[in-house]
């Protein structure tokens, strides 16, 4: 295995390493942090990881954007990036926005009712 193959492998696996790092960071944030806003941020980080995971599958080296009218005339049809993961990622971003908006507005209400954002103190429902 020469240096070039190793470099190529590193290029190929960098996105997935980023995905794993993002998801683990997000989970760490959700589990260790005590502030609700930070937990919601952690969820957003996990979501970015999932989105990156999806979008990373759509690209192959040297491919062009899947826009029919703007691509160079000599583009091989096999050389377009996959459009489906992009559509899926967009859908998942839309969902992420709605989820974040809902959770943040609930956090506002919790802060009003409980006077705190510490999850250890927001435990009226237990047992």
């Amino acid at each position: 295995m020469n240096a070039e193959t190793i470099l190529e492998l590193i290029y190929a696996y960098t996105p997935f390493a980023c995905v794993a790092a993002l998801i683990i960071l997000g989970l760490y944030c959700c589990i260790v942090r005590r502030n609700i806003i930070k937990i919601i941020l952690g969820v957003s980080v996990i979501e970015s990881g999932a989105n990156l995971f999806l979008i990373a599958h759509g690209y192959r080296t040297g491919s062009v954007a899947p826009i029919y009218t703007l691509s160079p005339s000599d583009t091989n049809p096999l050389n377009y990036a996959l459009p489906i993961p992009q559509a899926l990622t967009l859908t998942s971003i839309v969902i992420g926005v709605a989820v974040a908006a809902l959770m943040l507005s609930l956090a506002i209400h919790i802060y009003r009712k409980y006077g705190t954002l510490d999850v250890r103190k927001i435990t009226k429902l237990k047992g």
Partner: protein
């Protein structure tokens, strides 16, 4: 006649499109009057239910149906030159339509119930929009044949149901809503990751096409585990149940009844994933036993922990929520036993099929009686202003209808003959006994404890002398009674004719789950 044909052709999407379009018409209709909006919402659900009945008759006669979006005709599954489906498609078989019935019947009862139950609140136009969107989320999960589409509807369901849980900010409802949303969001994200794992290997999102090409590689196993855990969490099984009682306790009663069906939609997704998506590959790799035993262990834990945690509760809705956890265990046990012997046809014929019949029959029974019980809990809350059983008493004097419905629901959930709960539990006991006697005995003990805790609720809420606090209590408004009546009527019918119910709607559902090759064949052909 042409009209009926049109409806029948487009039934799979009309079931979903009617509530979806009506959801966005609701704020406009509510400009006319509150009453018009209430009737409009109920009519939308009833229309959808009627379409579902029409579709069901067709499916029971002619087998599963596919509906392709955006094609020139609904049946064009594979456009010319393609050997894998590229469009989003709905695939409706016996199991899907069975779940659609559950969702729509409970939604119908809950929407009628909420006419009067929400009359002291404001902002009802958005409330009803969200209610219809929640119905859309459930129906979408149950009808779709595309796994990413299932994720989208899963999220729509999570968002609308947690927004509704916290809709009327009273006391701790925001806390319940946030917990529910947070767990659903993370569960949903992991489901998305699992879907990506599958997509990256097979370049296809259609469940039938995926099922035909899955190789059961290590990545597939990881995807199966993540999908299973995500759906198990949402359907509220121990040890991931903790958010279920929290959310059920604080949401408005009719929404709680619908949350039960929402959790069952996720149960459906769990069964769909483990039977249809991975069914072929887990049989080929002889791991159906492992997957089945995971479900059985989770089911038994749910049954036992759920019911024992219910006994000491003094919040009426929290107590019932723990029973919801416990009853989910029966379904997981029944279907899990079916899954555990799926590859062994002699055992399957001996008891596996009956166990699955019991588990799936229990789904519809549970949706009806637990929905009814939550609605009666809402009626108690409406009259007394508290969920605390320690403060209640003597309500039976003033609320005979509510008490009557409560008795129906409580007898059914405890599996007392001749109620429908007994029929499905009997199926589970007898078939599971042949798999492992211990499991069957645990199931019976759980049933007894269920009866015990409902005796406690009945005694402390309805019996006893009239308390001075509730001297002015009276029966709840008519629409709430009608809403409870819808569910009670279904319970009575299923109690009297269990065989009819099992043969007509449950058997097609079981066959649909087991007939994995047929599901694939509808889309990919050949098989």
């Amino acid at each position: 006649m042409q009209f009926v044909e049109f409806i029948s052709t487009h039934a799979p999407i009309l079931i979903l499109a009617i509530p979806l379009i009506c959801a966005f018409l609701t704020p406009l209709v509510s400009r006319i009057s509150d009453k018009a909006r209430n009737i409009f919402v109920t009519c939308a659900i009833a229309l959808s239910l009627a379409t579902a009945v029409l579709l069901a008759l067709d499916i029971y006669a002619n087998g599963a149906r596919t509906y392709v979006f955006g094609a020139t005709s609904p049946g064009i599954v594979l456009p010319s030159g393609m050997n894998l489906p590229i469009r989003i498609m709905y695939e409706v078989d016996g199991m899907s339509i069975f779940m659609v019935f559950i969702s729509l019947i409970v939604a119908l009862g809950a929407s009628i119930y909420s006419w009067a139950a929400t009359d002291k609140y404001t902002g009802k136009d958005r409330y009803y929009t969200l209610l219809l969107l929640m119905v859309v989320g459930m129906l979408g999960m149950e009808l779709t044949g595309d796994i990413f589409n299932m994720f989208v509807f899963f999220e729509i369901l999570s968002i609308s149901s947690s927004a509704l849980t916290a809709y009327y900010i009273e006391g701790d409802s925001a806390e319940g809503g946030l917990k529910y949303m947070l767990l659903s969001a993370i569960g949903g994200l992991f489901v998305l990751i699992a879907i990506t794992l599958l997509y990256s290997q097979y370049n296809v999102l259609n469940m039938a096409a995926l099922a035909s090409s899955i190789q059961y590689t290590t990545l597939d196993i990881v995807a199966l585990g993540i999908l299973m855990t995500g759906f198990v969490m949402k359907c509220g099984a121990v040890p991931l149940h903790m958010v279920t009682p929290d959310a059920y306790t604080v949401s408005p009663a009719n929404i709680t009844a619908m949350l039960v069906t929402a959790s069952q939609a996720c149960l459906y997704a769990l069964f769909r994933v483990s039977f249809t998506l991975f069914g072929k590959s887990i049989i080929e790799n002889m791991t159906y036993g492992t997957v089945g035993i995971i479900l059985i262990v989770i089911g038994v834990l749910s049954m036992f922990v759920g019911v024992t945690m219910a006994l000491p509760q003094h919040d009426v809705k929290r107590l019932m929520a723990y029973h919801a956890v416990s009853q989910t265990g029966y379904m997981l046990l029944g279907v899990g036993v079916g899954l555990a012997v799926m590859g062994d046809s002699s055992q399957m014929d001996a008891f596996g099929y009956k166990a699955m019949e019991g588990g799936i029959f229990h789904i519809i029974n549970h949706a009806m009686y637990k929905g009814l019980l939550f609605l009666t809990a809402g009626a108690m809350l409406y009259m007394t202003g508290t969920r605390d059983l320690n403060k209640m008493g003597g309500l039976g004097h003033k609320m005979p209808w509510t008490a009557g419905f409560f008795i129906i629901g409580a007898l059914a959930i405890s599996g007392v003959p001749p109620m429908n709960g007994f029929a499905s539990k009997l199926l589970i006991y007898e078939s599971v006994y042949q798999f492992s006697p211990l499991l069957s005995i645990i199931a019976m003990v759980v049933s007894i404890l269920t009866l015990a805790s409902f005796v406690k609720v009945f005694h402390s809420a309805f019996m006893g002398p009239q308390l001075s606090d509730y001297r002015n209590a009276k029966e709840v408004p008519k629409s709430m009674i009608v809403g409870m009546c819808v569910l009670a009527a279904v319970i009575v019918v299923f109690s009297l004719f269990p065989d009819w119910a099992v043969k007509t709607i449950v058997d097609p559902a079981v066959d649909a789950l087991l007939n994995n090759a047929g599901y694939v064949h509808n889309v990919v052909g050949g098989a």
